[in-house]
Amino acid sequence: MLALPVKKAFSLKKIFSFQHSVLPGFSLAMGYSLTYLSLIVLIPLAAVFLKSAELSFPEFWNTVTHPRILASLRLSFGASLLAAAINAVFGLNFAWVLVRYRFPGKKILDALIDLPFAMPTAVTGITLATLYARNGWFGRLLAPLGIEVSYTPLGVLVASVFIGLPFVVRTLQPVLEDMEIELEEAAACLGADRWQTFRKVIFPLLTPALLTGFALAFARAVGEYGSIVFIAGNMPMVSEIAPLMILTKLEQYDYAGATAIAVVMLVFSFVILLLINTLQARSWNKETRT
């Protein structure tokens, strides 16, 4: 058998109140995962917490509740949540069209969705800033309408949407492909119209994946620096993002202050991720039970 000879006193299975399974390898796989997770993610992140602990609590509190920091946190989290919401709507549309319909150019569309992953963030930022600047391809069209994207908070939103899009589409696609069409047919036989079927049958099935996609898109956007900083304009109190505030702290050789902001961002993102993942698990359980 694969399972490592684990001492009774220190058993991973016990720690996680593991439910018995015939499948082998839990201790090995779990042990390896936890070790790797600790080495690569947890211990390095602990360094951030340790460093910020050099500040006394009032110092920490004053640093992170400074109006400029608060404004930047509000922008980073607000824009990321909004961008994730936009991506959830359009990503669903996208995934639906890709899975259900046939139309010219579909292959290209499907392929290019991963582009935001592969482009270096700085290139994304520069390209978006070029496109949306007043003399750019989009900016030229938007300027007469009085809409400014480059160098405003709107630019932060546009960049966040760009980098988050693939997450929603790519999590929805396999689920949509796997969905049993019989369910929809049954709904139709029972007299539901198409919209009702979508709302009552399809959408609930998609919710877990949609939430995962939302979580990932949000998580990616909230910490993003490279692709946003070129288009944001970085005006204090208006379009400064939280990662930029970390950099300005570092610029003053204030490592502890920088990590204090990082800690706040980390805790917030983690809580939001945990919430979404719990929600996701709930809707997954509900779906499998019914």
Binding site: Y151, M235, L250
Partner: protein, 336 residues
């Protein structure tokens, strides 16, 4: 179809030959510098390598690293093995001294405050100067769009800010309160605060933002040379600041690596007529009087003040103006 095939071959060759490129040299030197000096050191390094070869018959390789001045100083603090640093502000090298990488008196080890070349802050305007921008007081007029990097993240931007402040102080009846108001109005006209000097130049030149760019003199000339002599003019204000980008040997590193002699010679060579000529060629104001006289026509006449005289040194200026809650922050937080 000719080019794509060539391209494929080039790419294939690239991957193969990439594996073979490794440089072997007797001695290496790492110069950690800030952004606007790339072109200068790109030309200066080969000249020094040749000079060193002739003098000592030693083959030398000089590696360059460029980035924001503060970021580069942090890298050296965190263990980047720089033999020499050539940064934008004395403040950033002071940070190295505070962490005992170099002695406190570093600025006295080379002539002229350890700054072999100087620069100043000038205005880059659109061709023909349509908004008639002549001096600092034109920048605070309503409707003028000003582009400058963020003083919190860019060393160059701190010079911009201090130059504006010094101008307001020197006006008849000028005092601290008036200077603060003046700089406040100036930043009220700023539409974009990029994180670095090159970013600002791109915003101004490529994106067409604003009417005037506050820039290092050498950066302004380079921008004109690289991006369009027919599109921009340089305006030299009546008063500006003497920017002294300082240099230093990193004692801790050169003693460990045994490169003190060559590092010392490298930095001293910056003061030689050859080094000074090259600096002037790249629009840095040379310190050497002969060279300066030769290139006098290159640089606009301007009344230059120093940070030490007006602001009492970089440490003080940094603390008062650019630290968190300093004057720069107050300007923006008051407005909200």
């Amino acid at each position: 179809m000719k080019y794509p095939r060539q391209f494929a071959i080039a790419l294939f060759g690239a991957f193969i030959s990439a594996a073979a490129i490794t440089s072997y040299a007797d001695t290496t030197l790492l110069n950690v510098s800030y952004d606007p000096t790339r072109e200068f050191y790109q030309e200066f390094n080969p000249v020094f390598i040749k000079h060193w070869k002739e003098k000592t018959n030693e083959t030398l390789t000089i590696n360059q690293s460029h980035g924001g001045s503060g970021k580069q100083a942090r890298a050296v603090i965190d263990g980047q093995d720089a033999d020499v640093v050539t940064l934008a502000l004395a403040y950033d090298i002071d940070a190295l001294a505070q962490r005992k990488l170099i002695p406190e008196n570093w600025q006295t080890r080379f002539p002229q405050n350890s700054a072999p070349y100087t620069s100043t802050i000038v205005f880059l305007v659109r061709k023909g100067n349509p908004k008639q921008i002549k001096d600092w007081n034109d920048l605070v007029k309503p409707g003028i769009g000003v582009v400058t990097p963020n003083p919190k993240t860019s060393g160059g931007a701190r010079w911009n800010y201090l130059a504006a402040w010094a101008y307001a102080l020197q006006q008849p009846g000028g005092n601290e309160a008036k200077a603060k108001e003046f700089v406040g109005q100036l930043f009220g006209n700023v539409k974009v605060l990029d994180t670095g000097a090159r970013g600002s130049t791109t915003s101004f030149v490529e994106r067409g933002i604003g009417d005037v760019l506050l820039a290092w003199e050498n950066e302004a000339y380079l921008a004109i040379k690289e991006l369009g002599p027919d599109k921009f003019d340089i305006v030299t204000p009546s008063l500006s600041i003497l920017a002294e980008p300082p240099i230093s040997i990193i004692d801790k590193v050169v003693d460990k690596r045994g490169t003190r002699k060559v590092a010392q010679a490298y930095l001293e060579y910056l003061y030689s007529p050859t080094g000074q000529e090259l600096a002037a060629k790249h629009y840095y104001r040379p310190r050497d009087e002969k060279v300066a006289a030769k290139y006098a026509s290159r640089f606009g006449k301007v009344n230059l003040i120093t940070v030490d005289k007006v602001f009492g040194g970089w440490g003080k200026a940094q603390k008062e103006h650019f630290s968190d809650g300093g004057v720069f922050d107050q300007i923006y937080e008051k407005r909200k």
